[in-house]
Amino acid sequence: MTHSDDVEHLAECSACRQRFAANVVPFDPAARRGREREFTSVAGRLERERDESSDVVARYLRDTPTDEWSRLAEMPDLRNNAALEQMSEEVRRRLHRNPREALAIANLSASIAESLAPSQYPSVVLAQLRGTAWKDRASTLRYLARYDEALEAAERGEEALAPFASLEHDRAVIRMVKGMILAQQERFEEASVILSECRQVFSDHGDRTRYVQAGLAQAGVMYESNLIDECRELLLNLLPHATADGDVATQAKIHSNIGYCEMRRDAFASANIHFSEAVAGFTDLGYTSEVARTERGAGLILVARGQLTSGLARLRDARRAFIAAGMTEDAGLCGLNIAAVLIERGDRTAARSLAQSIIEEFTAAGMNERAISAVATLRDAIDVDGATAETVNTVHAVVESLREDVRDATN
Protein backbone atom coordinates (compact mmCIF):
# COMPACT_ATOMS: atom_id res chain seq x y z
CA MET A 1 0.00 0.00 0.00
CA THR A 2 1.43 3.39 -0.87
CA HIS A 3 0.71 6.78 0.49
CA SER A 4 2.80 9.87 0.58
CA ASP A 5 6.24 8.73 1.57
CA ASP A 6 6.38 10.88 4.64
CA VAL A 7 2.88 9.96 5.78
CA GLU A 8 3.68 6.28 5.41
CA HIS A 9 6.84 6.85 7.36
CA LEU A 10 5.07 8.84 10.07
CA ALA A 11 2.70 5.93 10.65
CA GLU A 12 5.65 3.70 11.41
CA CYS A 13 8.16 5.95 13.16
CA SER A 14 7.34 7.37 16.55
CA ALA A 15 10.39 9.66 16.60
CA CYS A 16 9.30 11.36 13.38
CA ARG A 17 5.72 11.60 14.63
CA GLN A 18 6.95 13.47 17.67
CA ARG A 19 9.19 15.70 15.57
CA PHE A 20 6.36 16.45 13.15
CA ALA A 21 3.91 17.31 15.92
CA ALA A 22 6.41 19.13 18.10
CA ASN A 23 6.39 22.57 16.59
CA VAL A 24 4.47 25.12 14.58
CA VAL A 25 0.82 24.61 15.50
CA PRO A 26 -0.34 26.67 18.48
CA PHE A 27 -3.49 25.51 20.26
CA ASP A 28 -5.86 26.41 23.04
CA PRO A 29 -5.07 23.91 25.83
CA ALA A 30 -8.42 24.38 27.57
CA ALA A 31 -10.40 23.71 24.40
CA ARG A 32 -8.29 20.68 23.65
CA ARG A 33 -8.80 19.31 27.16
CA GLY A 34 -12.56 19.80 26.74
CA ARG A 35 -12.51 17.80 23.51
CA GLU A 36 -10.44 15.09 25.08
CA ARG A 37 -12.97 14.83 27.90
CA GLU A 38 -15.79 14.48 25.37
CA PHE A 39 -13.86 11.78 23.52
CA THR A 40 -13.14 9.69 26.61
CA SER A 41 -16.66 10.08 27.89
CA VAL A 42 -18.18 8.93 24.57
CA ALA A 43 -15.71 6.01 24.50
CA GLY A 44 -16.77 4.98 27.97
CA ARG A 45 -20.43 5.32 27.15
CA LEU A 46 -20.24 3.19 23.99
CA GLU A 47 -18.43 0.47 25.84
CA ARG A 48 -20.81 0.51 28.80
CA GLU A 49 -23.71 0.14 26.36
CA ARG A 50 -21.94 -2.82 24.77
CA ASP A 51 -21.50 -4.45 28.17
CA GLU A 52 -25.09 -3.86 29.18
CA SER A 53 -26.68 -4.95 25.90
CA SER A 54 -25.02 -8.24 25.13
CA ASP A 55 -27.32 -10.39 22.95
CA VAL A 56 -30.25 -8.00 23.40
CA VAL A 57 -31.01 -8.00 19.67
CA ALA A 58 -30.82 -11.78 19.29
CA ARG A 59 -33.22 -12.13 22.23
CA TYR A 60 -35.78 -9.71 20.81
CA LEU A 61 -35.59 -11.26 17.35
CA ARG A 62 -36.04 -14.72 18.79
CA ASP A 63 -39.01 -13.76 20.93
CA THR A 64 -40.86 -11.66 18.36
CA PRO A 65 -42.66 -12.95 15.23
CA THR A 66 -40.85 -11.80 12.10
CA ASP A 67 -43.76 -9.75 10.82
CA GLU A 68 -43.71 -7.72 14.03
CA TRP A 69 -40.03 -6.86 13.99
CA SER A 70 -40.70 -3.34 12.74
CA ARG A 71 -42.44 -2.59 16.06
CA LEU A 72 -39.20 -3.27 17.91
CA ALA A 73 -38.01 0.19 16.89
CA GLU A 74 -39.87 1.51 19.92
CA MET A 75 -38.04 -0.67 22.44
CA PRO A 76 -35.85 1.63 24.57
CA ASP A 77 -33.10 -0.96 25.03
CA LEU A 78 -32.67 -1.30 21.26
CA ARG A 79 -32.24 2.42 20.73
CA ASN A 80 -28.48 2.67 21.20
CA ASN A 81 -25.20 2.10 19.41
CA ALA A 82 -24.57 -1.37 20.87
CA ALA A 83 -27.95 -2.69 19.72
CA LEU A 84 -27.45 -1.17 16.26
CA GLU A 85 -24.04 -2.85 16.03
CA GLN A 86 -25.69 -6.16 16.91
CA MET A 87 -28.37 -5.59 14.27
CA SER A 88 -25.67 -5.00 11.69
CA GLU A 89 -24.12 -8.32 12.68
CA GLU A 90 -27.52 -10.05 12.46
CA VAL A 91 -27.97 -8.65 8.94
CA ARG A 92 -24.55 -9.95 7.95
CA ARG A 93 -25.31 -13.41 9.36
CA ARG A 94 -28.62 -13.70 7.54
CA LEU A 95 -27.63 -12.18 4.22
CA HIS A 96 -26.80 -15.50 2.57
CA ARG A 97 -29.31 -17.82 4.14
CA ASN A 98 -32.29 -15.53 4.64
CA PRO A 99 -32.02 -12.17 2.89
CA ARG A 100 -35.65 -11.30 3.58
CA GLU A 101 -35.09 -11.48 7.32
CA ALA A 102 -31.86 -9.55 6.82
CA LEU A 103 -33.85 -6.84 5.07
CA ALA A 104 -36.41 -6.67 7.89
CA ILE A 105 -33.58 -6.17 10.39
CA ALA A 106 -31.85 -3.59 8.18
CA ASN A 107 -35.14 -1.67 7.95
CA LEU A 108 -35.54 -1.81 11.72
CA SER A 109 -31.99 -0.59 12.16
CA ALA A 110 -32.47 2.31 9.71
CA SER A 111 -35.69 3.29 11.42
CA ILE A 112 -34.00 3.39 14.85
CA ALA A 113 -30.87 5.14 13.62
CA GLU A 114 -32.91 7.83 11.88
CA SER A 115 -35.01 8.53 14.96
CA LEU A 116 -32.35 8.70 17.67
CA ALA A 117 -32.34 11.97 19.56
CA PRO A 118 -29.65 14.35 18.30
CA SER A 119 -28.39 14.71 21.87
CA GLN A 120 -27.83 10.98 22.34
CA TYR A 121 -24.40 10.88 20.66
CA PRO A 122 -22.07 13.40 19.04
CA SER A 123 -23.33 14.21 15.56
CA VAL A 124 -20.45 12.43 13.87
CA VAL A 125 -21.25 9.18 15.70
CA LEU A 126 -24.96 9.54 14.87
CA ALA A 127 -24.01 9.96 11.21
CA GLN A 128 -21.95 6.76 11.38
CA LEU A 129 -24.90 4.86 12.86
CA ARG A 130 -27.20 6.10 10.11
CA GLY A 131 -24.63 5.42 7.42
CA THR A 132 -24.15 1.83 8.59
CA ALA A 133 -27.89 1.20 8.81
CA TRP A 134 -28.46 2.44 5.25
CA LYS A 135 -25.46 0.50 4.04
CA ASP A 136 -26.91 -2.69 5.54
CA ARG A 137 -30.21 -2.00 3.80
CA ALA A 138 -28.37 -1.39 0.52
CA SER A 139 -26.40 -4.64 0.89
CA THR A 140 -29.52 -6.64 1.56
CA LEU A 141 -31.49 -5.13 -1.31
CA ARG A 142 -28.53 -5.84 -3.58
CA TYR A 143 -28.65 -9.42 -2.44
CA LEU A 144 -32.35 -9.53 -3.33
CA ALA A 145 -31.52 -8.08 -6.77
CA ARG A 146 -33.60 -4.94 -6.03
CA TYR A 147 -30.85 -2.78 -7.44
CA ASP A 148 -32.63 0.58 -7.83
CA GLU A 149 -33.78 0.52 -4.22
CA ALA A 150 -30.34 -0.69 -3.14
CA LEU A 151 -28.73 2.26 -4.90
CA GLU A 152 -31.18 4.62 -3.27
CA ALA A 153 -30.34 3.20 0.17
CA ALA A 154 -26.60 3.53 -0.46
CA GLU A 155 -27.13 7.15 -1.48
CA ARG A 156 -29.12 7.80 1.70
CA GLY A 157 -26.14 6.45 3.60
CA GLU A 158 -23.80 8.76 1.72
CA GLU A 159 -26.08 11.71 2.49
CA ALA A 160 -25.97 10.90 6.18
CA LEU A 161 -22.19 11.04 6.15
CA ALA A 162 -21.79 13.97 3.75
CA PRO A 163 -21.45 16.76 6.35
CA PHE A 164 -18.48 15.03 8.00
CA ALA A 165 -15.03 15.22 6.47
CA SER A 166 -13.67 12.72 8.95
CA LEU A 167 -15.88 9.86 7.76
CA GLU A 168 -14.06 8.97 4.56
CA HIS A 169 -13.55 5.38 5.74
CA ASP A 170 -17.25 4.94 6.57
CA ARG A 171 -18.09 6.60 3.27
CA ALA A 172 -15.83 4.16 1.42
CA VAL A 173 -17.59 1.21 3.08
CA ILE A 174 -20.93 2.48 1.76
CA ARG A 175 -19.49 3.34 -1.62
CA MET A 176 -18.00 -0.13 -1.93
CA VAL A 177 -21.54 -1.51 -1.70
CA LYS A 178 -22.66 1.14 -4.18
CA GLY A 179 -19.89 0.08 -6.55
CA MET A 180 -21.05 -3.53 -6.31
CA ILE A 181 -24.64 -2.52 -7.02
CA LEU A 182 -23.58 -0.50 -10.07
CA ALA A 183 -21.54 -3.47 -11.25
CA GLN A 184 -24.59 -5.67 -11.06
CA GLN A 185 -26.49 -3.08 -13.06
CA GLU A 186 -23.67 -3.42 -15.59
CA ARG A 187 -22.67 0.21 -15.07
CA PHE A 188 -19.11 -0.97 -15.15
CA GLU A 189 -17.27 2.31 -15.67
CA GLU A 190 -18.95 4.05 -12.74
CA ALA A 191 -18.46 0.97 -10.59
CA SER A 192 -14.79 0.73 -11.40
CA VAL A 193 -14.10 4.39 -10.56
CA ILE A 194 -15.89 4.09 -7.23
CA LEU A 195 -14.25 0.81 -6.27
CA SER A 196 -10.84 2.18 -7.15
CA GLU A 197 -11.42 5.24 -4.93
CA CYS A 198 -12.55 2.96 -2.11
CA ARG A 199 -9.40 0.89 -2.42
CA GLN A 200 -7.32 4.05 -2.06
CA VAL A 201 -9.17 5.11 1.09
CA PHE A 202 -8.88 1.64 2.63
CA SER A 203 -5.21 1.58 1.76
CA ASP A 204 -4.69 4.99 3.39
CA HIS A 205 -6.30 3.68 6.58
CA GLY A 206 -4.29 0.45 6.57
CA ASP A 207 -7.54 -1.50 6.20
CA ARG A 208 -6.07 -4.37 4.25
CA THR A 209 -9.14 -6.60 4.44
CA ARG A 210 -11.46 -4.10 2.82
CA TYR A 211 -8.73 -3.06 0.40
CA VAL A 212 -8.70 -6.63 -0.89
CA GLN A 213 -12.51 -6.82 -0.91
CA ALA A 214 -12.86 -3.67 -2.96
CA GLY A 215 -10.08 -4.93 -5.21
CA LEU A 216 -11.83 -8.25 -5.78
CA ALA A 217 -15.04 -6.45 -6.66
CA GLN A 218 -13.18 -4.15 -9.04
CA ALA A 219 -11.44 -7.15 -10.59
CA GLY A 220 -14.88 -8.65 -11.20
CA VAL A 221 -15.91 -5.45 -12.98
CA MET A 222 -12.76 -5.48 -15.10
CA TYR A 223 -13.34 -9.10 -16.04
CA GLU A 224 -16.90 -8.37 -17.09
CA SER A 225 -15.64 -5.37 -19.06
CA ASN A 226 -13.21 -7.66 -20.87
CA LEU A 227 -10.19 -5.85 -19.38
CA ILE A 228 -8.49 -9.15 -18.74
CA ASP A 229 -4.88 -7.97 -18.46
CA GLU A 230 -5.82 -5.17 -16.05
CA CYS A 231 -7.94 -7.60 -14.06
CA ARG A 232 -5.09 -10.08 -13.77
CA GLU A 233 -2.67 -7.33 -12.76
CA LEU A 234 -5.01 -6.11 -10.04
CA LEU A 235 -5.55 -9.64 -8.72
CA LEU A 236 -1.80 -10.22 -8.62
CA ASN A 237 -1.50 -6.97 -6.66
CA LEU A 238 -4.13 -8.16 -4.17
CA LEU A 239 -2.53 -11.53 -3.55
CA PRO A 240 0.31 -10.37 -1.24
CA HIS A 241 -2.18 -8.30 0.78
CA ALA A 242 -4.42 -11.32 1.30
CA THR A 243 -1.32 -13.34 2.20
CA ALA A 244 -0.15 -10.72 4.70
CA ASP A 245 -3.65 -10.76 6.13
CA GLY A 246 -3.35 -14.53 6.61
CA ASP A 247 -6.65 -14.92 4.77
CA VAL A 248 -6.35 -18.31 3.06
CA ALA A 249 -9.92 -18.32 1.71
CA THR A 250 -9.41 -14.99 -0.04
CA GLN A 251 -6.04 -16.10 -1.37
CA ALA A 252 -7.72 -19.18 -2.84
CA LYS A 253 -10.46 -17.02 -4.34
CA ILE A 254 -7.88 -14.70 -5.90
CA HIS A 255 -5.93 -17.67 -7.32
CA SER A 256 -9.13 -19.01 -8.81
CA ASN A 257 -9.91 -15.67 -10.43
CA ILE A 258 -6.37 -15.31 -11.77
CA GLY A 259 -6.90 -18.77 -13.24
CA TYR A 260 -9.95 -17.48 -15.13
CA CYS A 261 -7.93 -14.54 -16.45
CA GLU A 262 -5.08 -16.77 -17.55
CA MET A 263 -7.57 -18.96 -19.34
CA ARG A 264 -8.86 -15.95 -21.26
CA ARG A 265 -5.28 -15.12 -22.18
CA ASP A 266 -4.77 -18.68 -23.44
CA ALA A 267 -2.10 -19.16 -20.74
CA PHE A 268 -3.39 -22.62 -19.86
CA ALA A 269 -0.32 -23.79 -17.92
CA SER A 270 -0.44 -20.76 -15.64
CA ALA A 271 -4.22 -21.10 -15.31
CA ASN A 272 -3.82 -24.69 -14.15
CA ILE A 273 -1.26 -23.63 -11.55
CA HIS A 274 -3.58 -20.97 -10.15
CA PHE A 275 -6.62 -23.25 -10.12
CA SER A 276 -4.53 -25.87 -8.35
CA GLU A 277 -3.43 -23.25 -5.77
CA ALA A 278 -7.09 -22.34 -5.26
CA VAL A 279 -8.11 -25.98 -4.85
CA ALA A 280 -5.22 -26.55 -2.40
CA GLY A 281 -6.26 -23.52 -0.35
CA PHE A 282 -9.92 -24.51 -0.19
CA THR A 283 -8.91 -28.10 0.60
CA ASP A 284 -6.70 -26.94 3.49
CA LEU A 285 -9.64 -25.01 4.86
CA GLY A 286 -11.97 -27.96 4.42
CA TYR A 287 -14.17 -25.95 2.04
CA THR A 288 -15.17 -29.02 0.07
CA SER A 289 -17.91 -27.28 -1.86
CA GLU A 290 -15.53 -24.49 -2.92
CA VAL A 291 -13.02 -27.11 -4.09
CA ALA A 292 -15.67 -28.67 -6.25
CA ARG A 293 -16.93 -25.34 -7.59
CA THR A 294 -13.41 -24.25 -8.50
CA GLU A 295 -12.76 -27.50 -10.32
CA ARG A 296 -16.07 -27.20 -12.16
CA GLY A 297 -15.44 -23.57 -13.15
CA ALA A 298 -11.98 -24.42 -14.42
CA GLY A 299 -13.31 -27.47 -16.27
CA LEU A 300 -16.07 -25.53 -17.99
CA ILE A 301 -13.70 -22.81 -19.12
CA LEU A 302 -11.19 -25.35 -20.42
CA VAL A 303 -13.94 -27.09 -22.37
CA ALA A 304 -15.19 -23.79 -23.77
CA ARG A 305 -11.63 -23.00 -24.88
CA GLY A 306 -11.42 -26.36 -26.68
CA GLN A 307 -9.12 -27.99 -24.11
CA LEU A 308 -11.41 -31.01 -23.88
CA THR A 309 -9.15 -33.58 -22.24
CA SER A 310 -7.95 -31.37 -19.39
CA GLY A 311 -11.44 -29.85 -19.12
CA LEU A 312 -13.02 -33.29 -18.73
CA ALA A 313 -10.42 -34.22 -16.13
CA ARG A 314 -11.28 -31.11 -14.09
CA LEU A 315 -15.03 -31.75 -14.43
CA ARG A 316 -14.61 -35.36 -13.28
CA ASP A 317 -12.60 -34.16 -10.27
CA ALA A 318 -15.35 -31.66 -9.55
CA ARG A 319 -18.06 -34.31 -9.78
CA ARG A 320 -16.14 -36.57 -7.42
CA ALA A 321 -15.72 -33.66 -4.99
CA PHE A 322 -19.45 -32.83 -5.14
CA ILE A 323 -20.36 -36.45 -4.46
CA ALA A 324 -17.89 -36.61 -1.57
CA ALA A 325 -19.43 -33.44 -0.12
CA GLY A 326 -22.92 -34.98 -0.43
CA MET A 327 -23.96 -32.30 -2.95
CA THR A 328 -25.99 -34.63 -5.15
CA GLU A 329 -27.67 -31.93 -7.21
CA ASP A 330 -24.38 -30.21 -8.06
CA ALA A 331 -22.79 -33.58 -8.76
CA GLY A 332 -25.64 -34.31 -11.17
CA LEU A 333 -25.36 -30.94 -12.88
CA CYS A 334 -21.62 -31.43 -13.23
CA GLY A 335 -22.30 -34.91 -14.64
CA LEU A 336 -24.55 -33.32 -17.25
CA ASN A 337 -21.71 -30.93 -18.19
CA ILE A 338 -19.51 -33.99 -18.71
CA ALA A 339 -22.23 -35.77 -20.68
CA ALA A 340 -22.49 -32.82 -23.07
CA VAL A 341 -18.77 -33.09 -23.86
CA LEU A 342 -18.98 -36.86 -24.26
CA ILE A 343 -21.86 -36.57 -26.72
CA GLU A 344 -20.01 -33.86 -28.61
CA ARG A 345 -17.10 -36.30 -28.89
CA GLY A 346 -19.41 -39.12 -30.03
CA ASP A 347 -18.92 -41.21 -26.89
CA ARG A 348 -22.61 -42.03 -26.42
CA THR A 349 -22.02 -45.16 -24.36
CA ALA A 350 -20.19 -43.24 -21.67
CA ALA A 351 -22.76 -40.43 -21.81
CA ARG A 352 -25.62 -42.91 -21.41
CA SER A 353 -23.94 -44.63 -18.50
CA LEU A 354 -23.34 -41.28 -16.83
CA ALA A 355 -26.99 -40.25 -17.29
CA GLN A 356 -28.05 -43.53 -15.69
CA SER A 357 -25.72 -42.89 -12.71
CA ILE A 358 -27.20 -39.44 -12.25
CA ILE A 359 -30.73 -40.85 -12.26
CA GLU A 360 -29.75 -43.37 -9.59
CA GLU A 361 -28.07 -40.69 -7.46
CA PHE A 362 -31.05 -38.34 -7.76
CA THR A 363 -33.45 -41.18 -6.91
CA ALA A 364 -31.41 -42.28 -3.90
CA ALA A 365 -31.32 -38.67 -2.65
CA GLY A 366 -35.10 -38.36 -3.02
CA MET A 367 -34.79 -35.45 -5.40
CA ASN A 368 -37.53 -33.72 -7.34
CA GLU A 369 -39.35 -36.17 -9.66
CA ARG A 370 -39.27 -33.66 -12.52
CA ALA A 371 -35.48 -33.46 -12.32
CA ILE A 372 -35.22 -37.25 -12.39
CA SER A 373 -37.59 -37.53 -15.30
CA ALA A 374 -35.70 -34.82 -17.23
CA VAL A 375 -32.48 -36.83 -16.94
CA ALA A 376 -34.36 -40.04 -17.82
CA THR A 377 -35.59 -38.32 -20.99
CA LEU A 378 -31.99 -37.53 -21.84
CA ARG A 379 -30.94 -41.16 -21.26
CA ASP A 380 -33.74 -42.37 -23.51
CA ALA A 381 -32.80 -39.87 -26.19
CA ILE A 382 -29.22 -41.14 -26.10
CA ASP A 383 -30.57 -44.68 -26.51
CA VAL A 384 -32.37 -43.77 -29.72
CA ASP A 385 -29.39 -41.71 -30.88
CA GLY A 386 -31.39 -38.50 -30.78
CA ALA A 387 -29.43 -36.62 -28.14
CA THR A 388 -27.14 -33.72 -28.90
CA ALA A 389 -25.07 -31.50 -26.62
CA GLU A 390 -27.94 -29.04 -26.91
CA THR A 391 -30.34 -31.64 -25.50
CA VAL A 392 -28.05 -32.10 -22.51
CA ASN A 393 -27.82 -28.36 -21.98
CA THR A 394 -31.63 -28.11 -21.99
CA VAL A 395 -31.88 -30.83 -19.35
CA HIS A 396 -29.17 -29.06 -17.35
CA ALA A 397 -31.20 -25.84 -17.50
CA VAL A 398 -34.36 -27.66 -16.36
CA VAL A 399 -32.61 -29.25 -13.35
CA GLU A 400 -31.00 -25.94 -12.43
CA SER A 401 -34.26 -24.02 -12.70
CA LEU A 402 -35.98 -26.52 -10.41
CA ARG A 403 -33.29 -25.83 -7.85
CA GLU A 404 -33.81 -22.07 -8.21
CA ASP A 405 -37.53 -22.59 -7.64
CA VAL A 406 -36.80 -24.45 -4.40
CA ARG A 407 -34.46 -21.65 -3.26
CA ASP A 408 -37.04 -18.97 -4.05
CA ALA A 409 -39.67 -20.88 -2.12
CA THR A 410 -37.32 -21.20 0.86
CA ASN A 411 -36.68 -17.46 0.92
Binding site: V24, F27, R35, F39, T40, V173
Partner: protein, 192 residues
Protein backbone atom coordinates in the same frame (compact mmCIF):
# COMPACT_ATOMS: atom_id res chain seq x y z
CA UNK B 1 -18.67 -19.37 -20.65
CA UNK B 2 -19.10 -19.21 -16.90
CA UNK B 3 -18.39 -15.93 -15.19
CA UNK B 4 -15.28 -15.44 -13.14
CA UNK B 5 -15.51 -17.02 -9.71
CA UNK B 6 -18.94 -15.73 -8.82
CA UNK B 7 -18.09 -15.21 -5.19
CA UNK B 8 -15.99 -12.23 -6.21
CA UNK B 9 -19.19 -10.36 -6.91
CA UNK B 10 -21.72 -12.16 -4.80
CA UNK B 11 -20.11 -12.17 -1.41
CA UNK B 12 -21.54 -9.73 1.00
CA UNK B 13 -19.03 -7.06 1.86
CA UNK B 14 -17.57 -7.26 5.29
CA UNK B 15 -19.46 -4.95 7.52
CA UNK B 16 -18.46 -2.63 10.26
CA UNK B 17 -18.53 -5.47 12.69
CA UNK B 18 -19.15 -4.75 16.32
CA UNK B 19 -15.94 -6.26 17.52
CA UNK B 20 -14.92 -5.63 21.08
CA UNK B 21 -12.54 -2.83 21.84
CA UNK B 22 -8.89 -3.88 22.11
CA UNK B 23 -8.98 -3.61 25.87
CA UNK B 24 -11.53 -3.39 28.58
CA UNK B 25 -12.94 0.06 29.03
CA UNK B 26 -10.33 2.24 30.49
CA UNK B 27 -10.94 5.83 29.75
CA UNK B 28 -7.27 6.48 30.51
CA UNK B 29 -6.36 4.41 27.47
CA UNK B 30 -8.50 6.63 25.30
CA UNK B 31 -7.18 9.74 27.00
CA UNK B 32 -3.66 8.59 26.17
CA UNK B 33 -4.59 7.89 22.56
CA UNK B 34 -5.96 11.42 22.33
CA UNK B 35 -3.03 13.08 24.03
CA UNK B 36 -0.39 11.18 22.10
CA UNK B 37 -1.92 11.76 18.69
CA UNK B 38 -3.92 14.96 18.74
CA UNK B 39 -0.93 17.22 18.08
CA UNK B 40 0.20 15.02 15.21
CA UNK B 41 -3.20 14.99 13.52
CA UNK B 42 -3.64 18.74 13.83
CA UNK B 43 -0.10 19.31 12.52
CA UNK B 44 -0.77 17.06 9.54
CA UNK B 45 -3.95 18.93 8.65
CA UNK B 46 -2.31 22.32 9.04
CA UNK B 47 1.11 21.68 7.55
CA UNK B 48 0.42 19.14 4.84
CA UNK B 49 -2.96 20.41 3.76
CA UNK B 50 -3.00 24.04 4.91
CA UNK B 51 -6.25 23.56 6.80
CA UNK B 52 -6.79 26.58 9.10
CA UNK B 53 -5.80 25.70 12.68
CA UNK B 54 -9.27 26.05 14.17
CA UNK B 55 -10.77 23.76 11.54
CA UNK B 56 -7.85 21.36 11.85
CA UNK B 57 -8.54 20.98 15.58
CA UNK B 58 -12.19 20.22 14.82
CA UNK B 59 -11.26 17.74 12.08
CA UNK B 60 -8.83 15.92 14.37
CA UNK B 61 -11.48 15.72 17.09
CA UNK B 62 -13.99 14.28 14.61
CA UNK B 63 -11.41 11.72 13.52
CA UNK B 64 -10.99 10.60 17.13
CA UNK B 65 -14.75 10.31 17.63
CA UNK B 66 -15.19 8.37 14.40
CA UNK B 67 -12.39 6.03 15.51
CA UNK B 68 -14.48 4.84 18.45
CA UNK B 69 -16.83 2.78 16.28
CA UNK B 70 -13.86 1.26 14.46
CA UNK B 71 -11.61 0.69 17.45
CA UNK B 72 -12.21 -3.07 17.51
CA UNK B 73 -11.17 -3.58 13.92
CA UNK B 74 -8.26 -1.14 13.64
CA UNK B 75 -5.03 -3.10 13.62
CA UNK B 76 -2.60 -0.22 13.33
CA UNK B 77 -3.77 2.81 15.24
CA UNK B 78 -1.27 5.30 13.80
CA UNK B 79 -1.83 4.16 10.24
CA UNK B 80 -5.57 4.50 10.69
CA UNK B 81 -5.49 7.90 12.37
CA UNK B 82 -3.04 9.37 9.87
CA UNK B 83 -5.02 7.97 6.94
CA UNK B 84 -8.17 9.40 8.45
CA UNK B 85 -6.83 12.93 8.99
CA UNK B 86 -5.28 13.06 5.50
CA UNK B 87 -8.54 11.95 3.90
CA UNK B 88 -10.51 14.32 6.12
CA UNK B 89 -8.30 17.22 5.06
CA UNK B 90 -8.77 16.41 1.40
CA UNK B 91 -12.51 16.17 1.89
CA UNK B 92 -12.44 19.48 3.77
CA UNK B 93 -10.91 21.20 0.77
CA UNK B 94 -13.19 19.47 -1.69
CA UNK B 95 -16.09 20.89 0.30
CA UNK B 96 -14.44 24.28 0.37
CA UNK B 97 -13.97 24.35 -3.38
CA UNK B 98 -10.24 23.89 -3.58
CA UNK B 99 -8.67 20.99 -5.34
CA UNK B 100 -5.86 19.70 -3.16
CA UNK B 101 -3.81 17.19 -5.03
CA UNK B 102 -1.91 14.81 -2.86
CA UNK B 103 1.74 15.71 -2.65
CA UNK B 104 2.76 12.12 -2.76
CA UNK B 105 5.83 10.45 -4.18
CA UNK B 106 5.76 10.52 -7.87
CA UNK B 107 8.43 8.87 -9.88
CA UNK B 108 7.76 11.43 -12.59
CA UNK B 109 9.03 14.11 -10.27
CA UNK B 110 12.40 12.41 -10.18
CA UNK B 111 12.49 12.49 -13.96
CA UNK B 112 11.15 15.93 -14.70
CA UNK B 113 9.04 16.44 -17.76
CA UNK B 114 11.21 18.13 -20.42
CA UNK B 115 8.50 20.78 -20.73
CA UNK B 116 9.37 21.90 -17.21
CA UNK B 117 13.04 22.35 -17.96
CA UNK B 118 12.92 26.06 -18.69
CA UNK B 119 10.27 26.90 -16.20
CA UNK B 120 12.64 28.90 -13.97
CA UNK B 121 13.63 31.11 -16.86
CA UNK B 122 10.18 31.46 -18.38
CA UNK B 123 8.18 32.08 -15.26
CA UNK B 124 10.13 34.96 -13.69
CA UNK B 125 10.07 36.64 -17.08
CA UNK B 126 6.36 36.57 -17.04
CA UNK B 127 4.16 38.95 -15.15
CA UNK B 128 1.87 35.97 -14.79
CA UNK B 129 3.94 34.55 -11.94
CA UNK B 130 1.63 35.73 -9.22
CA UNK B 131 -1.35 34.54 -11.20
CA UNK B 132 0.20 31.09 -11.52
CA UNK B 133 0.89 30.87 -7.79
CA UNK B 134 -2.59 32.12 -7.06
CA UNK B 135 -4.06 29.21 -8.98
CA UNK B 136 -1.99 26.61 -7.23
CA UNK B 137 -2.93 24.77 -4.06
CA UNK B 138 -1.67 26.94 -1.17
CA UNK B 139 1.00 24.57 0.04
CA UNK B 140 2.47 24.16 -3.42
CA UNK B 141 2.56 27.91 -3.93
CA UNK B 142 4.20 28.38 -0.56
CA UNK B 143 6.91 25.86 -1.40
CA UNK B 144 7.70 27.59 -4.69
CA UNK B 145 7.74 31.02 -3.05
CA UNK B 146 10.12 29.82 -0.37
CA UNK B 147 12.40 28.16 -2.88
CA UNK B 148 12.50 30.61 -5.75
CA UNK B 149 11.42 33.98 -4.37
CA UNK B 150 12.73 33.86 -0.82
CA UNK B 151 15.79 31.79 -1.64
CA UNK B 152 15.51 29.05 0.97
CA UNK B 153 17.40 25.81 0.40
CA UNK B 154 15.65 22.49 -0.05
CA UNK B 155 16.96 21.42 3.36
CA UNK B 156 15.58 24.53 5.06
CA UNK B 157 12.15 24.17 3.49
CA UNK B 158 12.10 20.47 4.36
CA UNK B 159 12.84 21.28 7.99
CA UNK B 160 10.17 23.92 8.05
CA UNK B 161 7.60 21.58 6.54
CA UNK B 162 8.64 18.64 8.71
CA UNK B 163 9.58 16.31 5.85
CA UNK B 164 12.84 14.85 4.57
CA UNK B 165 15.04 16.76 2.10
CA UNK B 166 14.69 13.97 -0.41
CA UNK B 167 10.95 14.19 -0.27
CA UNK B 168 11.01 17.98 -0.49
CA UNK B 169 13.16 17.72 -3.60
CA UNK B 170 10.45 15.60 -5.18
CA UNK B 171 7.75 18.03 -4.10
CA UNK B 172 9.55 20.98 -5.61
CA UNK B 173 9.85 19.10 -8.90
CA UNK B 174 6.18 18.30 -8.84
CA UNK B 175 5.21 21.88 -7.93
CA UNK B 176 7.29 23.21 -10.81
CA UNK B 177 5.64 20.82 -13.20
CA UNK B 178 2.22 21.95 -12.06
CA UNK B 179 3.21 25.61 -12.30
CA UNK B 180 4.31 25.01 -15.88
CA UNK B 181 0.99 23.36 -16.71
CA UNK B 182 -0.95 26.29 -15.27
CA UNK B 183 1.26 28.75 -17.09
CA UNK B 184 0.84 26.90 -20.40
CA UNK B 185 -2.91 26.84 -19.89
CA UNK B 186 -3.01 30.59 -19.27
CA UNK B 187 -0.86 31.27 -22.33
CA UNK B 188 -3.08 29.07 -24.50
CA UNK B 189 -6.17 30.97 -23.38
CA UNK B 190 -4.50 34.29 -24.13
CA UNK B 191 -3.50 33.07 -27.61
CA UNK B 192 -7.08 32.17 -28.47
Amino acid sequence: MPPMAPEAMDDAPEDLRPLPLPCSVDENVFARIYEENCGLLVSLAVRKFQVPTVDAEALAHEVFLSYLRHAGEVRDLHHWLIGAICNASRYYWRKHGRNIEQLDTDIAAERPDPRSRNVLFDLPDSIALDEVLERMPPRWAQILRLRYLDGYSIKEIAEQQGVTSKYMQKLVGKCLHRAQEIFNGMRARKDQ
